[in-house]
């Protein structure tokens, strides 16, 4: 199909694959990147918040031409009950800095831009090409990939698997286990278009300022999950996701959940009058540290969602993807320069390098969270939001009842629903999982 031998092959053109291919090509390696979509981004879905730091390490001046929507100046965290919500807002003028820390983006456009940078750096990028399997030599070392093109075998010293959460190549080649329904969330998302002045007045914004809302509570019907609403320049991204095992158990339709969220009295006015232009679905790896598979072997490395690199607590994924992609590529570049073989022993340097970055430190810090959230979903995603909003309502309603009686009522409603021991136990378990 193309020149048959490369220094490295990168499977996938999401943030992890682009970061890897970009780094390799910039350092002068002969790189082939394969992407099954018609263009980079055509298969990809994200909320989407972009964290500057990870991209800045690759392309320091990305702000000059990257398709960024709004920089985030306000974060809202909402606990929803059926008719009410309790929330926290944090807004700071300091986020209007010269080099903002977080932006909203539209993934299909962002990936296309990033892919252009990869090509400019000198990589060969082939779209509309699905990798079917890895090619190994007699001793089992990965030496190339088989694609769905005619004469579709290509060879390389090393293959970087950046194929995302639904990574068939790694799984079918036995490099990692099949995903388990309780380690992945299914998210659905819609794009709602509105004129920018309407968005700005609804969210109290000027210029390119943006707001993001994360919501949890009764909208997920007791399933482990969260919902979100992010402002873009002329559109709003709105979505909701829950663990696949919970969807299966409850037999809830994801799009009905999304409709419920959109029609919640806290959300509906923000979307009123908008025109929907897309409906998307995607998995998110949420098993945390314990779900991370082996990341390297003879002739191969795994990066991004394929390596289960998502921090579900902080809703970070693309920055871990870019960082793992970059670090994998840096490892390959060093070995290449030293004319060392891409063996399992030598590629172990990738993991050693990752240990020193925030990626593995953060993943390890939250290793107990997934089990905790899953084991306590009824309380955390159903009971507490309800209790909290009931308490707030009792507190704020002026109805002739004296304040002391109100306090008592609040405490007893908590105690009735969940014993004091239970509540202390939950707090304790949460604190422990957090550590």
């Amino acid at each position: 199909m193309v020149e048959q031998r490369f220094d490295a092959i990168v499977v996938g053109a999401g943030p992890s694959g682009n970061a890897a291919a970009y780094t390799l090509a910039k350092e002068g390696l002969n790189v082939l990147q394969l992407e099954r979509g018609e263009y980079a981004g055509s298969k990809n879905v994200q909320g989407a918040i972009l964290y500057s730091d990870a991209l800045e390490k690759l392309i320091p001046n990305f702000r000059e031409d990257a398709p960024l929507e709004r920089h985030v100046i306000e974060q809202r965290l909402w606990m929803l009950d059926d008719a009410s919500y309790t929330g926290m807002h944090y807004r700071s003028e300091e986020f209007n800095e010269e080099k903002p820390n977080r932006y909203t983006i539209i993934r299909a456009q962002f990936d296309k831009w990033f892919s252009q940078k990869v090509r400019d750096a000198g990589a060969t990028v082939l779209y509309e090409t699905t990798v079917k399997e890895l090619i190994r030599n007699t001793s089992g070392k990965v030496i190339g990939v088989q694609t769905d093109r005619e004469d579709g075998a290509v060879m390389a010293d090393v293959v970087i698997l950046a194929e995302g959460v639904n990574g068939l190549v790694g799984q079918r080649s036995g490099l990692r286990d099949e995903l388990k329904p309780d380690t992945v969330a299914l998210a659905v998302k819609e794009m709602h278009f509105l004129p920018r002045d309407v968005i700005e007045s609804r969210f109290n914004l000027k210029g390119d300022e943006g707001v993001v809302i994360e919501a949890m509570g009764s909208v997920t019907l007791g399933m482990t999950g969260t919902a979100f609403l992010y402002t873009n320049e002329e559109s709003i991204s709105v979505g909701i996701g829950c663990l696949v095992s919970d969807f299966t158990e409850k037999r809830e339709a994801p799009y009905e959940l999304l409709e419920r969220f959109k029609s919640h009295p806290a959300i509906a006015p923000l979307l009123a009058g908008s025109e929907v232009k897309e409906y998307a679905a995607h998995l998110i790896p949420e098993g945390g540290y314990n779900a991370i598979p082996s990341l390297f072997g003879d002739g191969w490395l795994m990066v991004g969602d394929a390596g289960h690199f998502v921090n579900a607590v902080h809703r970070e994924g693309s920055n871990l993807a870019m960082t793992t992609g970059r670090v994998a590529a840096e490892t390959v570049v060093r070995l290449h320069r030293m004319r060392k073989e891409m063996t399992k022993t030598n590629l172990a340097e990738y993991q050693e390098r990752l240990e020193k970055t925030f990626v593995l430190k953060d993943m390890r810090k939250y290793r107990k969270i997934p089990a905790f959230l899953h084991g306590n979903k009824e309380t955390l995603f159903g009971l507490y939001p309800r209790l909290l909003s009931k308490a707030a309502q009792t507190w704020f309603r002026v109805d002739g009842l004296d304040k002391k009686a109100k306090e008592k009522a609040i405490v007893s409603s908590f105690r009735q629903a969940r014993t004091l021991r239970g509540m202390i136990g939950d707090a304790f378990k949460l604190a422990r999982a957090w550590r």
Binding site: G37, K43, V45, D148, T248, R251, A281
Partner: protein
């Protein structure tokens, strides 16, 4: 539950999306069965594109034209081996404009 939203038509949502369907080459297939497994039955509810439905013989059928390639059905049926799942050929399938 949620009777007020039961009326949502997922087909209308899929209508916003762009697809290049690889005619005659479905990328998701169901193994022939007499009685569907619990996993297959769950898919008639949880596939985000509504690709799975019961036919009048009580078997589950799939029409993957509106599939968004999320992979949920593959994972749910990993142990039961009810379905055969592959990516569409390069360039085919869903094409997100925004994602």
């Amino acid at each position: 539950m949620s009777t007020e939203t039961d009326a949502v038509k997922v087909e209308e949502k899929l209508y916003y999306n762009r697809y290049v369907v690889d005619a005659g080459r479905p990328h998701v297939k169901i193994r022939p069965h007499e009685v569907p497994s619990q996993a297959l039955l769950a898919l008639t509810k949880i596939c985000p594109a509504g690709c799975y439905a019961l036919n009048d013989k009580g078997q589950v059928e799939v029409t993957p034209d509106g599939c968004m390639e999320c992979g949920t059905c593959r994972i749910v049926c990993a142990d039961t081996h009810d379905i055969e799942w592959n990516y569409p050929r390069g360039g085919f399938g869903v094409l997100f404009k925004f994602g």
